[in-house]
Symmetry: D2
Subunit: 339 residues, 4 copies
């Protein structure tokens, strides 16, 4: 079968041919039709420090997808051949304390598709049935393919209530942009976006941002004085963006941190957090499966927003071009077609 | 009247004589009987960088006290002469958004007794009636005198629910020790205390700590493996203590930060906060007046605990000795008698 | 001065002439320009059982208003003559446990303008300064006049989070209709309205309701099967409406009860509440002043919605006509002009 | 194998002999050693209206138990033969919205052991592995056998925070009594118990109740004036007890309703719930598996409390005597030994 893989410990990816995997009793086989390219895939493509420490080539990558079930394991009763599905690609143990208390997204035994095991950039994917998410017939394939990053956005947006709040979003990549539309849909009074890339700021405007700021030119704290942020969604992983965001927040405000700094950050905790009575929450993954229901509802009610985020759809064989666009900051979210 | 004041911008305090202040219509005059020495008073005594930037000598200091009302302003109807009272010494504006939405402890216009205006280390104190807290007759004077720091402890303990949780407290000064007893009273499953000073660890044991650790010798993370902390109360302001605490916390855990680092801290946010899904909350002051009710209930039900925290009671004229004890780490909380 | 009063214990209201009230040090005098007619005013007009038990004629009624400050008490510093203001007309004691812990709307010592003391249907109103709410210059007088009932709606809408939820509203009077627009603004996924009056259902449609149902004809539970409600806002006070609402709610759902049944209701608690794991919250008044900030933001961002709710504005002298319209169900909210 | 069964639709139970059930791939076979008699078992024994409508004889009953694994299905990896376990006896579907969003205890497809399928009053029980709960070696068999009702108590106690609160418990059967000890362990300031049976009140005293009241003689509302309840745990299912409890609650208070009224109740919602701003939550089952972790911690730290609740332990063959004791109100919790 056709697949896209990291063949060896160096920059780049290759088209390759892989053989079929066996389906166990509680698993299903999916014929992948579309798959999204994630920031994680870009890290693996570029072979950065994180990738060097985690990925063991050769490996088929990819973990955002939609497809059709083509085989079901013998004990799987709730799914059937022909169903269109996506899946949570964090495969968790199900038996640890975190899994048994509604915090499976924090499971220590998580095994990630396309990172720790064979990925979704392949004609077929085998995955446990309990990870599946059935796709509503109203939803387009290119939207269904990116439930995973939409889930990261939704998990962050719902970490602290945004209804009636002035929301500040730092970083407007695919996830930050989804968060703009989701924060508005969830009742944010205003959404302000801080992002240095003009192309991304423009899409933020289209998605309903009330104000977009360029941190390389604008004084963010001054610019939001008339609608002081009460909720910060940090999606850039940039130290200065975080500090600016905390500075801009109203006392008693809340921050959800999804962006991953590449090194330790230096924070004046006294002035930025303690004296201001702020609350900061780290966010990772998607709640299983609260977040999926929320994404489902959002996508059904806001398909146009997703169209602005999926800027490129290409045949899977042209994956190199998609990675080029993304690397150059000329695409937001690229979806590969495996049909 | 006798008072204890910072006379000039240098280390030390002096006994002094001050004249009476006029009582406005909405204020009361209190004959101070007992007052506690706070860490803030020690900063002013030692004349550290914070004090240099904030305090304008000459100034009567002190803000933890109990006394008797000896005069009431003309529009004050709910208090009367002879009543025993303490008071919230953060005098807030009452009209800003924070004050009008239950977050007066974060008011930008806060004026602190003994810091921004004449303090309580004086025979008399004039203060707005709305700041008063009537003292239950069951409560001893030396306990009533320290409702302010007990309130800091209670505010921190109640920031995240501790009932049924494994609590880790870093720093066992007066506030940290109060938090030990309060966490147990509020249903903590276990309380572990990390504190380098053996004298303080011993009092923590007496107050019901299940485990006390010396961070200079013990491997904290390893020592709590059998009862992994789910709530961290950071009361030391020490960078390494914070990092150790976050490391020790279970994924999904909660931290309340009261201790004030004297300089920016370097944090691996990715590993310590984001990937662990932690929530960190800055804590300052006392909720007006939820915290005061909680302290009142706690002190009424747990007088013995407070006796272990107020280690020294001296005549106000011997304040120098009290400051010496505290500076040498030989006292936990010292209360001065002004009677 | 001109005023509208209940002169004696019988149906009806009369235009009357009242003399000026003195302004105390902490009060202000307001020149009332507009006032809304509340359901409470209708109860007093009709002289129903509730009114008979609570109101002591003669009494000037009315408690929803906007006006201009024309005199300030000597100790009032935060307001000045000429300022446009409305006010919270529940005058609370400020010193009880409920007042001191953020629950002043539940104060046992509440004194209500136009119910327990002289009301706002008068050229002038004297009220404590701490009850005032400054009106943003962007807001129309007829909108500012009804912050009180908009506050009831907002308090109910915010009792349980509605963002991303399917909301069911029973009862589409002025408050229920405001709740439709507020639930949508706060991110409700869908809003379904149950109301027997076709005129009110039509306005609900205009305000953004996704579905309106007539309980005298429609099978409510069946009609919402495709978007099962997770939040119920009960604003009718009708026993059957409440039971239908609880029946329609998803297991684990939340209900906020604002509508006041005129007599005890019979509830199958086992089937409707316990086995379904529902949560029911009683709602009264407005949170001081969280709700006022929320209403302020809502009205500034959604003036058109309020225009659909204030269906009638008349000179105060024509109050009888306004009460007639309301009594006949031909008006939603009527505002009287006192200018 | 020996089992206790309801043989036909009439009062009573019989000892019977049943054959072995096959273990499916994801199930385990448990050699039951001890089982508790639940109120539900008593309903079935007495053959009341509920039982007539739900139970289809012949049926082996019982659903509170502990035992040893004697066979594991082929796909079960996390449990092994010889392990001591109890289990959640609500077998849920795992795939509905409620199951996938942390509310499995509300699953519409719940199948209950000993009610809808063969029960635990038998030498062997076959149950899905995902329902198992491993029993800590510190815990006695008679304590492990009643995790199910202890879970009902814990779920109710944790529905609203009790730390620092004055708690009122109505009904002191096995679950109500467990709630007394759990509320104290979770930091309740005071616990008041309302219960007509003197024997049960005495055990409540032993378990740490601060005040016990007899509703047939005491004026409950008057008796709690000095420590007005802020949390009500309704465990009697009695209409008058519920009304008294709501009357006694402080405004803004919270109620958790576990007791199941046998018929609709008549409630003055206006006076009891709406004007008081109360919140009422229906409680059923146990959260899977948050509640089980909480019970585990509680039992490990408070074995003495459980000893006061398990008043009788008898051989399974003497089950008739156990039911007699319970029916006469002379036992709190009876455990049958199947060894």
């Amino acid at each position: 079968m056709f697949a896209i893989a990291k063949p060896e410990p160096a920059k780049g990816l290759v088209a390759t041919d892989v053989s079929q995997v066996t389906v166990r009793t509680d698993e299903v086989r999916i014929g992948v039709t579309h798959a999204g390219i994630c920031g994680t895939d870009m890290h693996i493509y570029q072979w950065d420090d994180w990738a060097k420490g985690r990925i063991k080539p050769p490996l088929v990558i990819g973990h955002e997808f939609v497809g059709e079930i083509i085989e079901v394991g013998s004990s799987v009763t709730e799914y059937s051949i022909g169903q269109r599905v996506s899946a949570e690609c964090h495969i968790v143990c199900g038996v640890c304390t975190l899994c048994r208390t509604g915090r499976a997204h924090l499971c220590d035994n998580t095994n990630i598709v396309g990172v720790d095991r064979q990925g979704a950039f392949c004609e077929e994917l085998v995955i446990p049935a309990r990870n599946l998410w059935p796709i509503n017939s109203k939803i387009a394939d290119s939207h269904a393919a990116i439930f995973d990053p939409l889930g990261n956005a939704m998990h962050t947006v719902t970490t602290h209530p945004v209804a009636g709040q002035n929301v500040l979003i730092s970083g407007a990549g695919a996830i930050g942009l989804a968060a703009v539309a989701m924060a508005k849909a969830n009742g944010a009074l205003t959404v302000t976006v801080v992002e240095p890339n003009a192309y991304k700021r423009e899409i933020a405007d289209t998605l309903g941002a009330d104000l977009t700021l360029d941190p390389t030119k604008d004084d963010v704290v001054a610019a939001v004085k008339s609608h002081i942020p009460t909720v910060l969604l940090e999606m850039s992983g940039n130290e200065q963006a975080l500090i600016t965001g905390l500075n801009a927040l109203e006392k008693g405000g809340k921050a959800a941190l999804l962006g991953i700094p590449s090194k330790p950050v230096s924070l004046d905790l006294a002035e930025l957090v303690i004296f201001k009575g702020l609350t900061l929450s780290g966010v990772i993954g998607r709640k299983m499966f609260e977040t999926w229901y929320q994404v489902d509802n959002f996508v059904c009610h806001n398909p146009d927003a997703i169209d602005h985020i999926v800027t490129h759809t290409l045949p899977a064989t042209e994956f190199q071009e998609a990675f080029n666009f993304l690397e150059q900051g000329k695409a937001i979210k690229a979806v590969l077609s495996f049909k």
